[in-house]
């Protein structure tokens, strides 16, 4: 179990982690989600005793990392930043780690086999592909057969095969009753991997709940509707048991010259709203269920990203990002 309590870390003027508290329970995969720069890596470094917090504590099974008698037998960690000497072979990297914990040489071969690196065990780590490096990092994390695992962006840059491998590995380890904390900035990845989510933004806790709950809370029953006849539609929606609120324009450009008004409807599915509109011959310009996980995540973390997120390349342009009326602040 990992317990983080009132953790704060400042680097100069910048607050990386801001009075953060959460608990990571054993037996499930806990996703640690947040946009880049949200403080995920810093939090992990604080838990692992690499950096020192300004306030607060982080403990693993009730102890500070430094107090663990043989830390790698209790905690395994994969950090996002590289921590391997490129001139050293994979085997020697694992060997020096094993020796600090009094683990036998045979354990090094075991974990090399476990991650599928036995054939390149005596190659210098500098020649490894990203996927192989990631596997070596996993091997190091599993070396002491730890009960607690912290994995920082483990699937970053991996091919689909590698992603699947890590995903299954984490699930398997959680099934064995271990405590798994895995960070990611990708909501979709977490949705299929994690049982439980801790979402942070700008170093602060945004939401801490089961994955289903987080998704449900942020996405269901929220439909974006654009219509020139908002008043009439609102009446119908209210009569049907839904709630309609004027959608905020969110600073985006207004829809091109038709005077249509944006509504955010909750409590009714998109299909029902469409039926209502059709029955009253109300014209709809847009009817969008806010259902994508990405959207839910952006909703959760809106206002908490470090770098501007508007007009992200590759995203369909969304002139009116829905600023959630629920689930956004907690």
């Amino acid at each position: 179990m990992i317990e983080v309590s009132d953790l704060t870390k400042r680097y100069g003027d910048k607050v990386a982690v801001d009075h953060l508290s959460f608990t990571v329970e054993p037996g499930r995969v806990t996703g640690f989600l947040g946009p880049n720069g949200a403080g995920k890596s810093t939090t992990m470094r604080l838990v692992l005793g690499l950096d020192y917090p300004n306030t607060g504590t982080a403990t693993i099974n009730g102890k500070h990392y430094r107090e663990l008698p043989s830390p790698l037998r209790t905690v395994g960690a994969l950090l996002e930043a590289k921590s391997v000497h490129g001139g050293r072979t994979a085997r020697n990297h694992l060997l020096f780690l094993a020796q600090t914990q009094g683990l036998p040489r045979s354990r090094v071969d075991e974990v090399l086999g476990l991650v599928g690196l036995q054939e390149v065990a005596d190659k210098r780590a500098g020649s490894f592909s990203l996927g192989m490096s990631q596997r070596l990092g996993i091997a190091a994390a599993l070396l002491g057969d730890p009960q607690v695992l912290l994995l920082d962006e483990p699937v970053n840059g991996l091919d689909p095969e590698g992603v699947l491998w890590i995903r299954n590995l984490m699930k398997q380890l959680a099934t064995e009753g271990r405590t798994i904390l895995v960070s990611s900035h990708l909501m979709n990845e977490m949705a299929v991997t994690a049982d439980y989510l801790i979402v942070i933004g700008r170093g602060k806790l945004i939401v801490e709940s089961s994955t289903e709950d987080v998704i449900a809370r942020s996405t269901d029953k929220s439909v974006r509707v654009r219509t020139p006849d908002a008043a009439r539609l609102t009446e119908l929606i209210t009569a049907a048991g839904g709630t309609s609120a004027p959608g905020e324009n969110g600073g985006g450009p207004a829809a091109p010259g038709n005077g249509a008004e944006l509504l955010t409807v909750t409590g009714l599915p998109a299909a029902r709203i469409g039926e209502l509109a059709a029955s009253a011959s109300i014209v709809l310009h847009e009817l969008t269920p806010v259902a994508s996980l990405e959207e839910a995540f952006m909703e959760l973390t809106s206002g908490s990203v470090e770098f501007g997120r508007r007009d992200r390349p590759g995203q369909p342009s969304q002139p009116d990002p829905v600023n959630a009326t629920q689930g956004g602040a907690r």
Binding site: R45, L48, G49, L50, D51, Y65, R66, L68, P69, S70, P71, L72, R73, T74, V75, A77, L79, A81, K82, S83, V84, H85, G86, G87, R88, T89, N92, L95, F96, L97, Q99, T100, Q101, G102, L103, R107, E110, V111, G113, L114, V115, G116, L117, E119, V120, G131, M132, R135, A140, L142, G144, D145, E161, G162, W165, N168, L169, Q172, L173, E176
Partner: protein
């Protein structure tokens, strides 16, 4: 590369995990693995051996070849006064540079490659890690340095024999030879401490070389007896005294005093390195 199906990691007995504490044996073995498994160690030590023994022999041979030559008299007199100091100094003056580099690299590459994070995750009691590293590095250097100084001495003595016979049994000669190995070992630790304090390879090497090679030249320009004293207490100036069988004119410290001063410098820097390692974010 084939994807291994995830299987349960082999069981490490839980009781062992609970009881196990990090012993020094494991930590020393770990640091030894780190040092021996990178190429820079082998190359720098090889360079150290070649430069120290090779240049020592070359300079000694040139001196012998030019014995009684024009304007060689003062130098010949110095060789006659302190033959062992001359033989060792000829090669080690430059050879010790490689140990400064190696001392820095042993710790600074942990930072440049990020291995320091893995190291400190494995050994979160950071002073233990630094101590184990220092002990292993010192042991390695002691063995290599003693081999080099003895090799250099015997080779130089053989070359010099026809003009100035010198043997280990001569006054202070054994102390000078063994002591030079000790000096080189401590110099390695001195550089390691600088590497641990500065944490960047280039900056640390520049600093170590500056302190060892450049500072004595600058302080040598200081006038008067206080200038001589400052110069005499500088790490390298004090440390090399142990390699002389006879005090040279103007020495402000005896051989062992000088070595003691050098050890003190090193201890202070190592203490500072340990303090900063404990205090700073890794």
């Amino acid at each position: 590369m084939t994807a291994a199906t995830p299987t349960a990691p082999a069981q490490v007995p839980a009781a062992a995990a609970a009881e196990h504490r990090q012993g020094w044996g494991g930590l020393l073995a770990s640091e030894w693995t780190k040092i021996r498994s990178v190429r820079s160690t082998v190359w720098t030590l090889l360079l150290f051996v070649v430069i120290s023994i090779g240049l020592g022999a070359l300079f000694t041979w040139l001196t012998v070849a030019n014995w009684n030559g024009p304007r060689a008299a003062p130098r010949d007199a110095r060789v006659i006064l302190d033959p062992v100091g001359f033989i060792l100094g000829a090669g080690l003056g430059l050879g010790q540079l490689t140990l400064c580099v190696l001392g820095v690299l042993v710790i600074s590459t942990e930072y440049s490659t990020g291995v320091i994070r893995a190291s400190l995750l494995a050994v979160p009691r950071r002073l233990k890690m630094l101590t184990a590293k220092s002990v292993v590095f010192a042991a390695l250097l002691l063995v290599v340095a003693e081999i080099v100084v003895f090799g250099s001495f015997f080779l130089g003595a053989a070359i010099l024999h026809s003009h100035v016979p010198v043997a280990l049994s001569d006054h202070n000669v054994t102390r000078a030879v063994v002591g030079s190995g000790l000096y080189l070992t401590v110099l390695g630790l001195f550089s390691l401490a600088i590497g641990a304090i500065i944490r960047h390879t280039a900056g640390a090497i520049t600093t170590a070389i500056g302190v060892v090679f450049v500072l004595p030249i600058l302080s040598g320009l200081l006038p008067g007896s206080w200038g001589a004293h400052i110069n005499g207490y500088l790490p390298e100036q004090a440390g090399v005294l142990i390699g002389q069988s006879q005090p040279a004119a103007g020495d402000v410290l005896s051989a062992w005093e000088g070595f003691g001063v050098f050890c003190l410098w090193t201890a202070v820097l190592l203490a500072l390195a340990g303090y900063l390692l404990q205090r700073r974010d890794a």
